[in-house]
């Protein structure tokens, strides 16, 4: 990622299958005034190039010509490293030193001037060769010991043996201390020392003198010898990638080290001059100084993203994109081109390039849909927005009518119970038949029933539904508790192959037999509910054929609860009245709902005129509320205790960490004590939660009963669905408040108040709200007014209801679920 791109002017590919590494590139003025490029591959091929770099007429630099390759020689051994130096005694000429795994050899470049235009002929005769006992890793050249006219060789083996050769003769060898893996090695002339990185990631400097003192002259190494002392060591804390030494115009030396994350520059005595943190992964680098008297070291670093970054000290001066990722980079001076970059890639592409100052323009790919026919687009937009507007205006019909067309759902309930369940109670079979008319990608069927009733198979998931499928579940009563409703709700949600999600809801009534069975009729019951019918009553045998075996004409039947045998109900038909009576209210809910439904099916309207069971409701509400308080106290207790437990744990740990150990036994006692109390509290909470769920169920029974009865009274039909949702245990108060604030509000000011969910603190307040709501929705026992006056504003507001009502329903529920841990099925 950069503004500029490097411009190659000379490149060549060594097309044999060869591999090159960091040390395989050398720039040197062997036998010439301009730089020559020497490369040696792991395949053992050595090549010397001299780019001619003639400037042609159109001021373009000439590219590679065959005559640029001075010599190519194949050696039997892989070449690990190449360097040049004054390596032959009595000569100041540069010779080429080549490192093989088992030897180091010095060659001289001999150039014979050709008489014809064939050009020159070069040969590379071997001058001398030293065999190595240990496999070599790398070497460095330099005038060790301060002999300025001659260069010596120091070879580092893979296991850390430094072998020194003073030109043709072997000098000594010694082991590096703390050695594991070989690292780059350089010779620092000014301090006459070697710098390398130890395996503990420290840059370490060894004086040549110390090395020679520690070394032994025999070539048979025994791995022992005295330990060499380092002159200084700099802890880099990361691996060393490459190391270089450069001297500037003022004879100030810089040791530049490239780590994996930072670029370091140190003086000869190991003091950091600067550190540059690199925010990329560096591959290779090259450092140099300019002869302009500025105290600056320049480094070219190549990043993994093939960007070349040139720093002057720590300041970024240039960045250019390279065409290939090199393994080695050097700087060379050719004829007409000063300071060219020479890059060598892993697979042998040798590139000379300069930094192009012309920014390469980043061009993006054109978008696929660029050309727009504006008229057509406008027409499309218009038609689309019409559809959207229609959709918006019919906000209330969010349930998609077409869903039924795409997927037909039939719920059938087997009226005959079977008792194959291992439990005490009988079970009822429910079949959900899915008939898809199109391909549906995903379909999920779920059945929900209220608490004591349970499904064996609650959820099913189908993929790529194409044909008729039947989902079967069995429904039974799980616990001996009263049951608020016998409704079973089947929700089918599906995603069509176009990705449109749809939901279909179906409800069905379970047979009453599941809950009740016939028994003796008992007179005197505490609670009586009388339903009025506008027609002549149907005989009970017509309504409840399942409970009357003989076709008797009795107008009274007795029923008893399956779950709790104490509870009995009796239903009596008299005149145009049905009288349902029981000694317990909770059982009534299901049967009244059932009866009302059956009567409606027969086509007669049912009404209820007596007072609602408000006082009983408050009794149950109070009970539920008290139980809730008990649970809450236990929960606070538990959280206190666990807080205490955590505090003790923390203290225990900090005691562990203390420098002076102190006995921990008392802490342990405390910890155990708290633990026991937590467990006790937990078991208590569990049992209380069970009780709570029981009270919840009874309360819910009653609420269901009341909302059914309200439905039977003379109330505006629009309010009914909302009321249905209101009568749920948890959200009762909030929903009531909401109702008071919106539909049933009497003034504008009341309307704008925002309903927030608060926990019920006071039952009295709740009572008040219930009375208010019942009052305003005009239940018969309230003061009678002319109903029409009040109904009208309700209708007006009703248009805006959906968003608000779903919202009010939705949010408090989430909040309550968070606040309380109890799973509540009623919501």
């Amino acid at each position: 990622m950069s503004l500029f791109k490097s411009r190659p002017f000379w490149s060549i590919i060594c097309d044999v299958d060869e591999k090159f590494d960091q040390n395989c590139l050398e720039i040197s003025k062997v036998n010439d005034e301009t730089d020559r490029i020497i490369i040696g591959s792991h395949a053992g091929i050595l090549r010397i190039y001299q780019p001619s770099t003639e400037v042609k007429e159109d001021s373009v630099i000439s590219e590679f010509q065959p005559s640029d390759l001075l010599i190519e020689k194949i050696f039997p051994d892989p070449i690990l490293q190449i360097s040049t130096g004054r390596l032959v005694s009595g000569s100041t000429q540069l010779y080429v030193a080549v490192l093989y795994p088992k030897s180091v050899a010095v060659y001289g470049l001999v150039t014979k001037e050709g008489s014809t235009e064939h050009g020159t002929q070069n040969s590379l005769p071997l001058i001398y060769e030293h065999k190595l006992k240990r496999s070599a890793s790398n070497f460095c050249l330099g005038s060790f010991g301060g002999v300025l006219t001659r260069d010596f060789i120091c070879v580092q083996s893979l296991d850390g043996l430094l072998t020194f050769f003073e030109q043709e003769s072997f000098a000594f060898c010694c082991f590096l201390p703390e050695f594991l893996l070989p690292a780059p090695l350089i010779y620092v002339q000014k301090s006459d020392s070697f710098v390398t990185a130890s395996s503990s990631w420290c840059l370490t400097s060894f004086r040549y003198k110390h090395l020679s003192e520690a070394g032994h002259n025999s070539n048979d190494d025994d791995g022992t010898g005295t330990r060499v002392k380092s002159t200084w060591s700099y802890n880099m804390g990361e691996e060393l990638i490459d190391l270089q030494y450069t001297i500037d115009f003022n004879n100030i030396g810089y040791i530049v080290a490239l780590g994996t994350r930072n670029l370091y520059c140190l003086s000869e005595n190991g003091i950091a001059k600067f550190i540059k943190r690199l925010d990329y992964t560096p591959i290779c680098f090259f450092a140099y100084t300019l002869g302009d008297g500025e105290n600056a070291v320049w480094s070219c670093v190549v990043s993994e993203t093939t960007t070349l970054l040139i720093y002057m000290n720590t300041t970024l001066k240039w960045a250019a994109q390279l065409s290939n990722l090199p393994v080695a980079i050097k700087r060379a001076f050719f004829k007409n081109v000063q300071g060219a970059l020479v890059l060598l890639t892993e697979d042998g592409r040798l590139i000379c390039s300069y930094l192009g100052t012309e920014p390469h323009l980043f061009s993006t790919t054109p978008l696929a849909h660029q050309e727009l026919d504006y008229e057509e687009a406008e027409a499309e937009l218009l038609s689309l927005s019409k559809i959207i507007r229609n959709y918006y205006s019919s906000d209330t019909k969010l349930v998609n009518a077409t869903a039924e067309k795409e997927l037909q759902v039939f719920v059938s309930i087997n009226p005959h119970l079977n008792s194959d369940m291992p439990d005490l109670y009988q079970s009822c079979q429910v079949l959900v038949t899915l008939m898809p008319n199109i391909i549906l990608e995903e379909v999920q069927v779920s059945t929900t029933v209220s608490k004591p009733i349970k499904c064996t198979n609650e959820i099913a998931f189908y993929k790529n539904l194409t044909q008729k499928t039947v989902f079967e579940t069995k429904i039974y009563i799980e616990e001996p508790l009263p049951c608020p409703s016998l409704k079973v709700e089947v929700i089918v949600s599906c995603i069509s192959n176009l990705g449109v999600p749809k939901v279909i809801r179906k409800t069905a009534e379970l047979p009453l037999k599941l809950l009740l069975s016939s028994s003796e009729t008992i007179k005197d019951h505490k609670h009586k509910i009388v339903l009025n019918v506008d027609k002549e009553v149907f005989s009970l045998s017509q309504l409840f054929p399942e409970f009357l075996y003989e076709s008797s004409t009795t107008n009274k039947i007795g029923l008893k609860s399956n779950t709790d045998f104490e509870r009995t109900v009796s239903v009596a038909a008299r005149g145009n009245q049905y009288q349902i009576s029981s000694d317990c209210l909770t059982i009534l809910s299901a049967i009244i709902l059932n009866l009302a439904g059956k009567l409606k099916k027969q086509g007669c309207s049912v009404s209820y005129n007596n007072s609602l069971l408000i006082s009983e409701l408050f009794l149950f509400v109070k009970e539920h509320f008290d139980q809730l308080q008990v649970v809450k106290t236990l929960q606070t207790n538990l959280s206190l205790l666990s807080g205490q437990f955590r505090a003790i744990q923390k203290r225990l740990i900090s005691k562990f960490k203390d420098k002076n150990p102190t006995p921990l036994s008392n802490m342990e006692m405390l910890l155990e004590e708290t633990y026991v109390r937590i467990i006790n509290c937990g078991t208590q909470l569990e049992s209380e939660l069970k009780t709570l769920s029981k009270t919840q169920i009874t309360l819910s029974c009653l609420l269901h009963l009341i909302s059914t009865l309200i439905g039977l009274t003379d109330v505006d039909k629009n309010v009914l669905p909302i009321l249905d949702t209101v009568f749920c245990p948890y959200v009762l108060k909030t929903s009531l408040c909401y109702l008071l604030h919106t539909i049933l509000s009497r003034s504008e000011g009341e309307k704008i108040k925002i309903t927030t969910f608060e926990e019920v603190k006071d039952v009295k307040e709740l009572e008040l709200h219930v009375r208010l709501v019942l009052d305003r929705i005009k239940v018969p026992n309230a003061i009678s007014e002319n109903p029409k006056e009040n109904v009208e504003p309700v209708i007006e507001d009703h248009k805006l209801m959906p968003v608000g009502s779903t919202f009010a329903e939705y949010r408090p529920k989430v909040a309550s679920a968070k606040k309380r841990v109890i799973p509540s099925n009623y919501e």
Binding site: P101, S135, L181, G237, D279, Y280, G749, V803
Partner: protein
């Protein structure tokens, strides 16, 4: 060629898989070859290595967390400043945004995140996922390379050449912080508490284990011995975690004295000022960064953001174009370019830029932001219906986009549906409690109704 040399060469050329393979061959022949063992360990580590300074992963609080942060700090001493004190509203992620119009700054276009994607190919993913993946692959082939439970950490801690690579292997490859820490503790002792590197590693482990104060102590001690940029940055990050921006600034200053103009430390300073809501200081530091490192896309982009919010969209446009010229090609950048064009009246380019942004956007968050911004284009053009649709699409993509709810509410209110507007405002308020606009708007609505009555 010598196989070990080959392995070394592979390692140098970053061909870590082949390096590990070659090492495995060597180890098959000579199971006790320490050098090959070490090299293989290093190669395996390098394969999954991530600069953990770049991956801003904060491990969720341990329940034994001892550090409580003052809930009511003195002004200017905490990053949890009241929202209204800041110059620009912020998004949930804490990057500056504006309630009305914003370039997608959360992702810092072409900044740190972008850099992660390009410079360090591995860093885009989470540390843990990679670690688990590779470890699993290796165990399938021939059992785990190192049985951590059977390591004699005390023995290895005393070997300076092996201990450091082993630590990195345990920390990065195995992800075994506890054993890595055990090794670090032993090694620090073996080095007579003189090696700063081990202290930094210990701090790293403490940090991973949420023992922040211990981590701070180690880093302080390391800094006493040796000045290193990484140590400074880690210490700064510690103070940021502790919500002590002033201490962090102090460390930054010390770091900048030791390493004048260092880009990484300056970036920390600039980000810090940005977090503190001091845009001017932040930009000053970003400018310094650009002088030192003209390639720093984060700095350029942030200067662009500064100009954008200073009502100089033309200037901002120039910065973003520079970023574009450098080859960054992301949805966020095009989004910002589009907004700059919109506000500098270059309407012909606006749509082209935003269209490109939509084309490039992959994550839902960015898509939602672009649609949100498109709604502003529509509002600027006076097309309320189109604006509503843009906002609706934005909400379809990201249903938690509070500003979109707010704006849709305003549009609904303007078209006379006060009740619907109220509902949308409430939704916006619930989604983002500390956003000012919906609150104010709701208050306004209520007041209006009350006065009418």
């Amino acid at each position: 060629m010598e196989p070990f040399y080959l392995a070394l060469s592979y390692y140098r050329r970053r061909n870590f898989d082949k390096c590990a393979e070659t090492c495995t061959e060597i180890l098959d022949k000579q199971p006790l070859d320490q050098a090959a063992w070490c090299l293989k360990m290093k190669a395996l580590t390098k394969r999954v290595y991530i600069d953990d300074l770049d991956s801003e992963e904060v491990i969720a609080g341990d329940f034994l967390d001892n550090d409580t942060v003052a809930s009511a700090p003195r002004p200017g001493t905490s990053m949890k400043v009241e929202e209204m004190l800041k110059s620009r509203p912020r998004s949930t992620t804490g990057r500056p945004i504006s309630g009305i119009n914003r370039p997608g700054t959360q992702a810092r276009p072409g900044s740190s995140i972008e850099r992660l994607k390009t410079a360090r190919p591995l860093t885009g993913q989470s540390v843990r996922a990679i670690r688990l993946g590779t470890a699993a692959i290796y165990s399938q082939r021939d059992g785990p390379f190192i049985q951590v439970s059977r390591l004699n950490l005390t023995k290895y801690a005393k070997q300076p050449c092996l201990s450091k690579p082993l630590f990195e292997y345990l920390f990065y490859h195995e992800g075994d912080v506890r054993n890595a820490m055990e090794l670090a503790v032993q090694a620090t002792q073996a080095n007579h508490f003189e090696d700063w590197w081990w202290k930094v590693q210990l701090a790293k482990c403490y940090n991973a284990l949420n023992l922040i104060r211990d981590s701070e102590q180690q880093l302080r001690s390391a800094l006493k011995q040796h000045n290193h940029i990484e140590t400074y940055i880690r210490l700064i990050r510690i103070y940021l975690r502790l919500d002590q921006p002033l201490s962090a600034l102090e460390v930054c200053k010390a770091g900048l004295t030791a390493f004048p103009n260092d880009v990484s430390i300056s970036t920390e300073v600039a980000r810090l000022y940005e977090e503190l809501g001091d845009a001017t200081m932040s930009v000053k530091h970003y400018r310094n960064i650009v002088i030192e490192d003209a390639m720093n896309t984060e700095a350029i982009a942030c200067i662009g953001v500064y100009h954008f919010y200073n009502n100089q969209p033309e200037l901002a446009l120039r910065y973003y174009r520079r970023v574009l010229a450098m080859g960054v090609h992301s949805a966020e950048l095009y989004n910002n370019l589009g907004l700059c064009c919109l506000y500098s009246q270059q309407l012909d380019l606006t749509m082209a830029c935003l269209q490109r942004a939509l084309d490039l956007a992959i994550s839902n968050q960015i898509k939602a932001e672009v649609w949100y911004n498109l709604s502003h284009v529509a509002i600027a053009a006076g097309d309320v219906e189109l604006a509503m649709q843009c906002l609706s699409i934005c909400l379809v993509i990201d249903p938690t986009h509070a500003p979109a709810f707010n704006n849709i509410a305003i549009l609904q209110y303007k078209s006379g549906r006060a009740n619907l507007a109220k509902a949308y405002f409430t939704t916006a308020k619930n989604l983002q409690e500390n956003m000012l606009e919906p609150q104010k708007n709701l208050e306004y609505l209520q007041n209006k109704y009350l006065t009418v009555e």
